[in-house]
Amino acid sequence: MSQSEAPPSAPVFPSTDTVPVTVLTGFLGAGKTTLLNRILTEQHGRRIAVIENEFGEVGVDHELVIGAEEEIFEMNNGCICCTVRGDLIRILGTLMKRRDRFDAILIETTGLADPGPVAQTFFVDDQMQEKLRLDGIVTLVDARHVIDQLDHSEETAQQIAFADVILINKVDLVEPEWLDAIEAKIKRMNAAAKIHRTRDAAIDLAHVLDVGGFNLERALEVDPAFMEPEYPFEWGGVFDLPAGGAVLELDPGPDPTMAMVIVPLAAEIGADAGAQLAAATERAVLSFSDDERTVRTGGSLHPGDAHWQLALDRTPLRFAISAPGGGRVAVFTEHHPDEFSLRFTALERRLTPLAEHAYKPDHEHDEEVTSVGIEVAGDVDGEKLNAWLRDLLATKGVDLYRMKGVLAIRGEPRRYVFQGVHMLLDHRPDRPWGDTPRANRMIFIGRDLDRQALTEGFRACLV
């Protein structure tokens, strides 16, 4: 096979009025067809075309329903994870030739469909891009079965991860506490999606249509701040150690080891222990990423930056906290002290913390699909960021389902917005920062994401 280059030609002028496309995903029985029928009934004045990939238990009564069979095409464009839906290119291409424009297009996917190729179709095919715009991916889950489905099917996790809007449907069939648990789990997987609880898929259609999920302007709305940061420890407490130090005692617990950091604090008179604890948190996170120093029972620990690993294999468990001159310290523990009846004593007296805080741990989740939010003030270096993103997409693109965010790039007076699916990124400058403090906000949704590596990788791009 030989290769020869065809020349470039004049750019295709993008059409200003594109037709919005909404993709409905969800397992069979989650309520896709019910929602579809609601949309068609309530939007009866609009010209809507429906592409159905699955004939569900409820028929769709509508003049323009086209049946489709999932045809996944790998693209030979150097993008290793790039697949598109050939059936959609063909059907939408035909629909776009009709005389009257459609007001909207709805695509109902099968319960087992991966939304990735559907979304990528609208980025990769020039003709689709010219005439259509992917407005949003709406995922319905059946409140009764979603947890079980998440355990057994990759597709459910993908459908949640890709969604802009998630409807937890059939809420009338489960207990409210169960719903809270479902919602919390879904939120951990996809922190960017809007979650609604519905019965019979009844929802204000303004939450489902024209949501602008792939709209760069709306990337500005990304707010990773609602995601409380996660820590490598569950608990922290501030103690005043008397001269001579203290003794740490604990009982065996659910884990054979316990990691710990003891940050020395300045014992200023009147210093707020709570504020000191908060201030020490960052230092503790750094220490927790260092190599561990294993200590067996009878051994000794001392305040500093060491990342101690207490071996809990022999009882009784007793460790010395060596602090000859005494002083204030912040102790951070991998597990909550209650799980191991952990206690500090000095001079025969049990020490009580001056301040304590339970942290949201990062090791408790069993979800493989998660969201990582990053929010950092300041400017990033455009070149470093490009190199980092290029490397990230090349190595993790397959696992990165959605990403979006706003960046402050050095030397650029405007906000820089981006959003993407797998390895495909859309980006452009947006409105000027003006008096608003320059900051970067991003969210990544994907499989097996390394929060620390992402955060550190991004921080390394800061100016």
Partner: protein, 356 residues
């Protein structure tokens, strides 16, 4: 009937001789005999007629929408296909129905008559079927990897080339599955046999064109197109292959040693997606239609390309003439003698031009 004479460069004379509007966007149009035309629209309606509106006859419809139309060589029958999964045969003389074939699929998008008119092939979802001119089944292929995007008979009528995901395959009209497969990573969209059958060209979704050297099976893949290659057309002398990708019409010279290593020529004139290209039979005019609502007419064989500014900058030729339509151009057809050009657009307008 309007008689607007347009002259852009003086090399062509283009005259509109008829114009009418059908019920929906024109999906395909083809001349039957003389100036008589057959057309199918997006609503599924099949039309026959010529000249003014009064001469046009609605002869039937495919429910759900129309996708394909092909006139039998010789002009006695018109075959149509649509979203109802049927292949229909109509008598061109009076518009009566000759046969209706249920293909078993719901997507009949391409129909191709064997050059001798004895048989026709049509896509039926992932399969390709072959029928006699009376509509009797002769053979059906195995399933392709995807819905078949295009089919084309080898000019000697010995076999059919098919385009689908995974490349080009050859079928013999009576046998079952593909007999020979030219693997291609990606999806093939449009096929064209060089009339001399030295090459088979194929336009692809991944913005490439594949030339298959028919005798040896060797392939040449041409990269660098601005977008997927939606349409292609060979000149009757077999020298030129016109390809449509993005807003460009790109012309390859297959004479002598072939296109390998040659810089193609860019034909300029469109500013929107080029949807269709068609060489004038036995002629030197190439017509192209675009989503910009333009028909461009080129005579690249008569005109010298403009010299390149640099090695990266390909030689270009500007359109000799351009015609503006109401809507996006969706269908183009020449008469077999090449004197008339029919143009259908998305608004349903159908216009006929005399080109000299």
């Amino acid at each position: 009937m309007s008689r607007v004479k347009r002259r852009l460069r003086g090399s062509l004379s283009v005259q509109k001789i008829a114009s009418l509007r059908l019920d929906e966007a024109v999906v395909a149009v083809q001349f039957v005999q003389g100036s008589r035309l057959a057309a199918i629209t997006a609503s599924g309606s099949v039309w026959l007629g010529e000249g003014s509106v009064a001469d046009w006859q609605w002869i039937g419809a495919h429910s759900g929408g129309g996708l394909a139309l092909a006139v039998q060589p010789g002009g006695a029958l018109v075959a149509s296909g649509g979203l109802d999964g049927t292949l229909r045969l109509w008598r061109a003389a009076d518009g009566t129905r000759a046969a209706t074939v249920q293909t078993g699929a719901d997507w009949v998008e391409r129909i191709a008559w064997r050059p001798d008119g004895s048989r026709l092939a049509a896509t039926a979802g992932r399969r390709v079927g072959v029928w006699s001119a009376a509509g009797e089944p002769i053979g059906v292929s195995d399933e392709h990897a995807s819905t078949v995007a295009d089919i084309a008979w080898q000019p000697d009528g010995s076999r059919i080339a098919t385009a689908a995901y995974g490349g080009v395959a050859y079928l013999t009209p009576t046998a079952g599955g593909p007999t020979d497969h030219v693997a291609l990573k990606g999806s093939s969209l449009a096929l064209g046999w060089q009339p001399q059958a030295k090459y088979l060209a194929c336009g692809n979704q991944d913005a490439t064109v594949l030339f298959v050297l028919v005798e040896t099976g060797d392939t040449l893949q041409m990269w660098g197109f601005p977008a997927k290659v939606l349409a292609l057309s060979w000149s009757d002398d077999g020298r030129w292959l016109a390809t449509a990708a993005g807003s460009g019409v790109i012309l390859w010279d297959a004479s002598g040693a072939g296109p390998r290593g040659r810089t193609p020529t860019v034909l300029e004139g469109h500013f929107g997606f080029v949807t269709t290209v068609a060489w004038q039979p036995q002629g030197r005019v190439l017509a192209s239609g675009g989503a910009d609502g333009q028909i461009c007419l080129f005579t690249p064989t008569l005109r010298r390309p403009q010299a390149s500014q640099s090695a990266d900058d390909p030689p270009t030729i500007e359109a000799d003439d351009s015609l503006r339509l109401e809507g996006e151009v969706t269908a183009l057809a020449w008469t077999s003698g090449g004197g008339l050009l029919a143009v259908g657009d998305r608004s349903g307008a159908l216009s006929i031009y005399r080109v000299a």
